[in-house]
């Protein structure tokens, strides 16, 4: 490459970097930080085993979760589907427990007419799955099933206002219930309200849509024809596979008329929070599948900030140490190596900021680690180039040709080595989950920047210096290996001149 071309390539490179940073500064862009650096709650959910899951179902699931989180009022939530998992990220001061309750709950609501009580001493009670086992949240909608009923101790109901004691699961009642008469799709709205009769407990008032209201009217009209004492004059309100309550149809309801108006109420045992969360999940609809929380973590914003500071400090300290070493090793031309590292840092950081603001790439701790690791990779390119240059000098080339020759062979080496690193980054990115991806992304990115930098900036600067009159100055350290005990092989005059 002639001098003119070298200058052009250097100027073009600097112009692109300047343009990139000018753009970033003009737009006032800052890096997008991951949850571990800015604090927040991260929850990963996966379908419970034994369900058939396809893409459409997962997309609907993500949609429902997004709705629910919007109602929680968290700023800038990030909900993404990755493989079969759903990842939810809530930045800032999100309430981890509330998020877990709202996101993970299937909220599969079913209203089914009761067919029979199954008392604990009947043989059928023992033959059906015990209530202590994990209960399937989505019981078959179109067949008769036996379900467990959340039961409270009788004594508690004597003291009005007291929180009734819930019985342990092995003492729960079981009910045989008919196919679903009314489902979650029939709900138009759900609101948490204080129990108007006692004024202490909380309940969720349901407003049914027109289709739901009609269905509700039909089944209550049917049930009202049964005898008041008949256990079948009841319908079970089933939430996530558990019968929450099985109210009877009151005697005011007339046979074949039913309850009109489309209002229903679910009483819940818990407090206001629980009622509100239940109302929220009912309002936003059921998840089409049952999800289990696989991982849930929260990071406080202060911890996030100190992690960020530690990461930046480590990166800076590493950079300074590497620069000092390069200067020690290469003297004057080591300064050019430092400029290369600085350029590497500018380009990589600039790309991270741009990608953060365009495709939403968030910088995590693992990502910072990836960048720090890549400092080593960038320094390595400078070292390979310079060592190669020394080899060429030793082989008897002039400074100028040695610089050019060293570029072509070190570029080849760099390309081979970086192909392997890049391959590693791509495989990691495609196959891994969670923090590994952030790491792989920055590692792959820095590998590309490294090769690009070597081909433009490093090459031009080195070759131009080699062509300049500074090249022969002792300070540059270009003339021969500065550490070589040259006098042993050369006349002393050559070294002391």
């Amino acid at each position: 490459m002639g001098r003119g071309k070298l200058v052009v390539s250097l100027v073009a490179f600097l112009a692109v970097v300047a343009g990139m940073w000018g753009f970033i500064i003009a737009k006032r862009w800052t890096p997008q930080l991951g949850l571990d650096l800015q604090g927040g709650v991260s929850i990963i959910l996966a379908p419970a085993p034994g369900q058939t899951v396809d893409l459409a179902v997962l997309e609907r699931t993500v949609g429902v979760i997004r709705n629910r989180i919007d109602q929680l009022g968290v700023a800038e939530p990030d909900i993404a589907q990755q493989g079969e998992t759903v990842q939810v990220q809530l930045p800032g001061l999100a309430d981890q427990e509330e998020a877990e309750d709202v996101i993970g709950r299937t909220a599969q609501l079913q209203m089914r007419p009761v067919l029979a009580d199954i008392p604990a001493d009947s043989p059928e009670y023992g033959n059906t799955p015990p209530c202590t086992e994990t209960i399937e949240a989505v019981p078959a909608a179109d067949e008769e099933v036996v379900l467990c009923e959340r039961s409270v101790a009788d004594a508690a109901s004597d003291e009005p206002g007291a929180d009734p004691e819930e019985l342990p699961r092995d003492q729960w009642n079981k009910l045989r219930v008919a196919p679903v008469a009314l489902g979650g799709d029939d709900i138009a709205n759900a609101i948490a309200e204080a129990d108007p009769t006692t004024g202490v407990g909380w309940q969720v008032a349901l407003r049914l849509n027109s289709g739901g209201a009609k269905k509700f009217e039909d089944i209550t009209a049917d049930l009202a024809c049964k005898d008041l004492a008949d256990p079948q004059r009841r319908f079970a309100i089933v939430l996530d596979g558990i019968v929450e309550s099985a109210p009877g149809v009151s005697e005011q309801v007339q046979c074949n008329v039913g309850i009109t108006g489309g209002d229903a109420v679910i009483t819940v045992g818990g407090d206001e929070d629980e009622a509100r969360e239940l109302a929220l999940v009912l309002r936003t609809g059921a998840l089409p599948i049952q999800l289990d929380i696989q991982e849930s973590r929260s990071v406080s914003p202060t911890l996030g900030r100190s992690s960020l500071q530690a990461g930046l400090l480590a990166g800076f300290a590493g950079l300074v140490l590497v620069c000092a070493y390069l200067l020690f090793l290469y003297r004057g031309i080591g300064l050019a190596a430092i400029a290369e590292l600085v350029m590497f840092g500018l380009v990589t950081l600039g790309l991270i900021i741009i990608l953060g603001n365009t495709v939403g790439f968030a910088l995590t701790l693992a990502g910072i680690a990836g960048v720090i690791v890549s400092i080593g990779i960038a320094a390595d390119s400078s070292i390979i180039y310079r060592e190669r240059f020394k080899d060429e000098l030793r082989a008897g080339r002039t400074i100028r040709t040695a610089a050019d020759k060293a570029f072509s062979s070190s570029f080849k080496t760099n390309l081979t080595g970086n192909t392997v690193s890049f391959l590693a980054a791509v495989v990691l990115y495609v196959l891994a989950v969670g923090p590994v991806r952030g790491f792989a992304f920055t590692l792959g990115l820095s590998t590309l920047v490294d090769t690009l930098l070597l081909a433009t900036f490093t090459r031009s600067v080195f070759a131009l210096i080699a062509r300049s009159r500074f090249a022969r100055s002792r300070f540059m350290g270009l003339r021969s290996n500065v550490f070589e005990d040259a006098p042993a092989a050369e006349p002393a005059g050559g070294a002391t001149r």
């Binding site: 929380i293 991982e295 100190s306 590493g318 080593g376 390979i384 590693a424 005990d485 092989a489 050559g494």
Partner: protein
């Protein structure tokens, strides 16, 4: 430079570092490969036995479990109080540590029944009661048991895919023997690093897995740089060459030695900074785990790229008839002209001697440089 002058006046010259950096020190890695083989085999045997005896200490991300970091505790409490509070919620086997002079605590438990379920809620309620910390002061990280298995499987699958791709790439770019030698080196590095982890008992977290994967990249990168040079230099060898494949490879190894050492140092410096700074920060476990594994792995990788990769490659190559014949021919020729150390033909044979052989420099090159 003034120090060049002073060293010139002293025949015994400066320290090893200076001689290595100035490339006047020559090492016979290939000739000594038997010794290195013994070192590597002993190391591998030690970590393999130690590793099998102790097993890896997996973090909760793999085994499933809950880790709670409690800050701003306002009440006086002991680790015993905290352990009781946790076991009252029905969670047994918790590890409890009081930190920050009683203002904070770390609690880790085996997997709870259901993340976000009642048991977990009871446990958190118990902890807030004992410590007086608000719920917002408890950072909780909970992982289900199935999830850890999935991560492990995915990591292993990634590793396998990566190895196959790299072997293919190296076989295409160089040749299959180099690919084989690179993979053997890689396995050596991973076994050694993981073994050290097992013996010392460092916890293996996702961050350490990231680091292990990076080490793969590094180890390969290092090996590739060396092989690139070996390939370039040995390509010039003809059947009438005066040096064997092994000697040429050894020279190539020495040529890239400064680069290997410098690169390792420039990689270790930032990682060392990460390790040091990460260690002084509560909660920045990711940084620390990552840096620790990288630090160990890079050290191992540097060692192996020099004394495992190339000797193994030479061993493979000299089984090839072409290089085996060359070796035989060179050795028989040398038998006759053994004492003629100054002849360029014998450069290879002087490699094994402790006094470094001068780099073959033509007088023409010196003349050019002084011009």
């Amino acid at each position: 430079m003034s120090d060049a002058t002073t060293t010139g006046q002293r025949p015994r010259r400066a320290g090893l570092l200076r001689r290595v950096l100035g490339r006047t020190e020559y090492f016979d890695f290939i000739g000594q490969s038997r010794k290195f083989l013994i070192v590597s085999v002993v190391l591998l045997a030690v970590v393999a036995i130690g590793g099998l005896l102790r097993g890896l200490n997996f973090s909760i991300e793999f085994t499933g479990g809950t880790a709670l970091t409690i800050t701003n505790a306002s009440k006086d409490f002991t680790a015993e109080d905290l352990r009781d509070a946790v076991s009252d919620a029905g969670v047994e086997g918790a590890l409890v540590q009081v930190v920050d002079g009683g203002d904070g605590a770390l609690v880790s438990t085996p997997a709870v029944e259901e993340i976000g379920g009642e048991q977990q809620r009871d446990m958190v309620a118990g902890i807030t009661e004992v410590t007086g910390a608000g719920e917002g002061d408890i950072a909780r990280e909970a992982v289900g048991p199935r999830w850890g298995q999935q991560i492990t499987q995915q990591s292993l699958r990634g590793l396998l895919v990566f190895l196959v791709l790299v072997a293919l790439y190296l076989a295409l770019r160089f040749e299959w023997r180099m690919a084989a030698a690179a993979i053997v080196t890689l396995v050596h590095d991973i076994v050694l690093t993981v073994g050290i982890y097992a013996i010392v008992g460092f916890p293996v977290s996702p961050a350490s897995v990231i680091a292990f994967l990076t080490i793969l990249g590094y180890s390969l990168y290092d090996t590739v740089v060396v092989f690139d040079r070996v390939g370039e230099d040995t390509a010039r060898l003809s059947s009438v060459a005066t040096k064997t494949y092994g000697e040429t490879a050894n020279e190539a190894l020495n040529e890239v030695l400064v680069r290997s050492l410098s690169t390792s140092l420039t990689s270790l410096l930032p990682v060392g900074a990460l390790l040091f700074i990460g260690a002084n920060l509560l909660g920045a476990k990711t940084l620390q785990d990552l840096a620790l594994a990288l630090f160990i792995g890079m050290a191992v990788g540097t060692y192996s790229s020099i004394v495992v990769a190339t000797p193994f490659l030479v061993w493979l190559k000299e089984k090839e008839p072409r290089w085996a014949e060359l070796k035989q021919r060179v050795e028989s020729r040398r038998g006759g002209a053994d004492r003629d150390a100054s002849a360029p033909a014998a450069v290879g044979s002087t490699l094994a001697q402790s006094r470094p052989a001068p780099r073959p420099r033509s007088s023409k090159s010196r003349a050019k440089r002084r011009r």
